[in-house]
């Protein structure tokens, strides 16, 4: 860089940026205090803590969703139709699920709107003998259960899919 540019650089560096207005630090202080009032733990924030806090929120939310999934599974289990032996994967239930008020509160503004169960594997594991000596057959079913929540306000939706395995022991009828 030639000498004139070097001199110009020095001259520019000697100019001091103007001070912020007196109101700005006060505004920042108010904004920080407001935030601290909403979330007091921020006062004692240490390195990495905000990230942990976000993760905690996620885990809490996921825990609520898992609770809801278990509740829906239990309801579905009690009300499901008698099992038939399907030969191919099929959607067993896509009926809308009425929103559960307590679950809605737990999961924020999301409401359950549907549940579906897809049978993707069916295996006959052969004959077994029950405690009383009666013959039976053991059949293993494998499903993927999918639950859908929707936020009516934002139209955002969430799907939760969980694998499920079911073993049924069917009494054998001898003719």
């Amino acid at each position: 860089m030639d000498e004139t540019l070097q001199e110009l650089e020095n001259e520019l560096a000697n100019l001091r940026p103007r001070q912020v207005s007196r109101a700005l630090p006060a505004r920042i202080e108010a904004a920080l205090a407001e935030g601290a009032g909403r979330t007091p733990s921020l006062r004692s924030t240490t390195a990495g803590a905000p990230v942990r806090r976000r993760h905690s929120a996620w885990f809490g939310w996921l825990a609520a969703a898992a609770t809801l999934a278990v509740a829906l599974t239990a309801v579905w289990w009690q009300t499901r139709p008698a099992p038939a032996a399907p030969l191919a994967p099929q959607v067993r239930n896509t009926a809308p699920v009425p929103p559960a008020p307590e679950a809605t509160v737990a999961a924020g503004h999301y409401r359950p709107v549907g549940a579906a169960s897809v049978l993707y594997d069916l295996r006959d594991e052969g004959d077994v003998v029950l405690d009383g000596g009666a013959p039976a057959r053991r059949v293993r079913y494998r499903y993927v259960d999918t639950y859908t929540w929707k936020n009516p306000a934002t139209n955002a939706s969430l799907k939760w899919s969980v694998p499920r395995e079911e073993v049924r022991v069917l009494p054998a009828v001898l003719h």
């Binding site: 540019l5 100019l15 001091r16 103007r18 001070q19 630090p25 990230v51």
Partner: protein, 171 residues
């Protein structure tokens, strides 16, 4: 007690670096008021959520300031955006720098005027290099350009300033 210490901590930091941040924010906003809004938003966000992150705090803050300024610009309507463009992104004529005593202040005004006539992409690099004291690597990261591009723009900016200010230097 902790809150008091924390308050003193950010105030000391802001007193040292606030003016430089404001000068940078001015390069991306139309007015001093907008620049202060942007600095406030970025600083509060940084202090609440980002100060535990690794890296240079000034670089983090500068990126935050720039994003806030871009967000602000996007919120404006097209007419205002065209005015911004025609005006080089600086609608008002508030001073960039502290006043200098005596005749030195005339020189400051000349420099400010020449700075405002620079293309915005050159001016932002110059400001980050001279007053924010960033390296070309840091400037490249902040502006999402290569360090070589930053270096070129810096040299063009200095040369353009020299051409505008030369009569005053040597006349």
């Amino acid at each position: 007690m902790e809150a008091t210490h924390e308050s003193a901590s950010w105030k000391a930091w802001f007193a040292a670096h606030g003016p430089k941040l404001l000068l940078c924010a001015r390069q991306w906003t139309r007015s001093l008021a907008d620049a202060e809004d942007v600095v406030q938003e970025a600083f509060v966000r940084y202090w609440r959520h980002q100060r535990g992150l690794p890296g240079d705090p000034q670089a983090l803050l500068l990126t935050s300031v720039r994003r806030a300024a871009l967000d602000l610009a996007r919120r404006r309507d097209r007419r205002e955006a065209r005015e911004d463009l025609a005006d080089g992104g600086l609608g008002d004529r508030d001073a960039f720098f502290e006043k200098l005593p005596g005749e030195g202040d005339e020189r400051r005004l000349e420099i400010e005027s020449a700075l405002r006539r620079l293309p915005p992409e050159q001016r932002e690099v110059l400001v980050l290099k001279i007053w924010q004291e960033f390296t070309f690597e840091q400037i490249g990261a902040a502006l999402e350009i290569s360090p070589n591009t930053a270096s070129s723009r810096y040299r063009y900016a200095l040369a353009a300033l020299r051409n505008q200010l030369e009569p005053l230097c040597h006349g």
